[in-house]
């Protein structure tokens, strides 16, 4: 009888530990973001982060290369780290491809504070990330980092990898110089 009680106590303790451990938000391994579940509590190290719906840039496979269309509050996935984001206008100038205007409604950013705050049911499945945006240069370009948020300013921008960018910029330069050359020759 005593043995049964002891075993019961141990099982309860394990259950309790497992329950408590499962209650706090946790980073996914090797990343800087955390998947949220309703009822979880914000851990100390994530205090001040923000949670957004789990959305990612839309992949578009073109004839010559693949590019990604960014929307407000997309989370930059690790595979797009180091990619260059170009404004839709700039991208059109570079590649001749016109990207439709996005007009993504500005969604809610759920502030993960204070520590211990419980994730509400409607935030179930959201992703928590530090509040960081890619640094925009000249209103036209930025370099993407993993687990950063796409700002409203970058809604509708396009991300391309460095090699594609190098190729497109090289072509653009040639194209512009050729136009200039012809113009000057006509004079």
């Amino acid at each position: 009888m005593n043995q049964m009680r002891t075993l019961g106590t141990i099982a309860f303790a394990f259950g309790l530990v497992a329950l408590v451990a499962g209650c706090f938000t946790k980073r996914e391994e090797g990343t800087n973001h955390a998947g949220l579940k309703a009822g979880m509590q914000v851990s100390d190290d994530m205090e001040g982060w923000v949670a957004v719906p789990n959305t990612q840039p839309k992949e578009v496979k073109g004839d010559k290369f693949t590019y990604y269309v960014l929307s407000t509050h997309n989370i930059v996935p690790a595979k797009l780290a180091g990619f260059q984001a170009v404004s839709a206008k700039g991208f059109e100038k570079l590649s001749g491809i016109k990207v439709p205007e996005q007009k993504t409604p500005e969604g809610e950013l759920w502030a993960m504070k204070p520590a211990g705050r419980t994730v509400p049911k409607d935030k179930d499945g959201w992703v928590g990330v530090p509040l960081r945006f890619p640094k925009v240069e000249g209103g036209a370009m930025a370099v993407l980092e993993a687990d950063t948020l796409i700002s409203k300013e970058m809604d509708g921008w396009v991300a391309i990898d460095k090699e594609t960018s190098a190729k497109l910029f090289s072509e653009l330069e040639t194209k512009q110089q050729t136009i200039d050359k012809r113009a000057s020759e006509k004079k």
């Binding site: 180091g82 260059q84 170009v86 700039g90 100038k93 570079l94 240069e137 000249g138 036209a140 370009m141 930025a142 370099v143 460095k162 090699e163 960018s165 190098a166 190729k167 497109l168 910029f169 090289s170 072509e171 653009l172 330069e173 040639t174 512009q176 110089q177 050729t178 200039d180 050359k181 000057s184 020759e185 004079k187």
Partner: protein, 246 residues
């Protein structure tokens, strides 16, 4: 007692004669010294005067010599001029004579020329039309040549303008552009040389055009390469500048 002692010493001269004979040696010595000093002074002054007189005499002699020399030369020149004047007078006489002869001959020649000029006037009128047409053709050919030359110069200047814009491109390139810069300088120099040539041949133009074209392509390629490098190295600032280029 003292009076007795005084009368016992040397006796002083009492009379004028005694006094004179007593002072005579001193007076004579003084007089001799005075005479000597006067003589010396007179000697020195006369010496100086003699020197100056000699100097003045020498100057006068030199000037006199020079004047004599000039006078001789002038006399010689006068003689030469006189000789020339005689020759000219003789020549004048001859000329007068010849002039008279010419006058006589001229009268005859004028009469002959009058006849000739009348016949020449007719020939000139006939030639006039022919010359006008010929000149017109020559002018047209020359004008065409000039226009072509001008056109070629304008073409080269156009190339130089293009090169000028390329210079800015070469200078803005961040990589090693020393070779391009050297090539630019040489090409610009050659364009300038050809522009200043009196005869610009078609070969000159085609050679320069080809070289300019190749140079432009090199610059273009360098810029394209640089743009690609900037993209690869995430030089976003430079890329944005390129995007914003018109």
């Amino acid at each position: 007692m003292s009076d007795a002692g005084g009368s016992a010493g040397a006796r002083l001269p009492q009379t004028f004669g005694e006094k004179l004979s007593f002072a005579a040696p001193v007076l004579l010595a003084t007089l001799a010294v005075a005479v000597l000093i006067s003589f010396v002074l007179v000697w020195v002054v006369s010496g100086q005067l003699r020197t100056e007189l000699k100097k003045v005499e020498t100057d006068l002699t030199t000037k006199n010599d020079a004047l004599n020399k000039e006078l001789t030369e002038e006399k010689k020149k006068t003689a030469d001029l006189q000789k020339k004047a005689d020759e000219l007078t003789a020549a004048n006489v001859d000329l007068n004579k010849k002039n008279e002869d010419l006058k006589n001959n001229l009268g005859k020649a004028v009469t002959e020329l009058d006849k000739t000029s009348k016949s020449l006037a007719k020939i000139v009128t006939d030639l006039g039309d022919f010359t006008y047409e010929g000149q017109k053709q020559v002018d047209a050919t020359q004008n065409q040549g000039l226009a072509q030359h001008e056109q070629k110069i304008k073409y080269i200047e156009g190339r130089l303008e293009i090169l000028k814009t390329l210079e800015a491109d070469v200078n803005t390139l961040k990589g090693d552009t020393s070779e391009l810069k050297k090539e630019y300088v040489v090409l610009k120099g050659d364009l300038g040389k050809v522009r200043d040539k009196a005869e610009i041949t078609d070969k000159d133009l085609s050679d320069l055009t080809e070289r300019s074209r190749i140079f432009q392509l090199k610059v273009l390629s360098a810029r394209a390469k640089e743009a690609a490098e900037q993209a690869r190295s995430n030089d976003i600032k430079s890329l944005v500048q390129r995007l914003n280029q018109e």
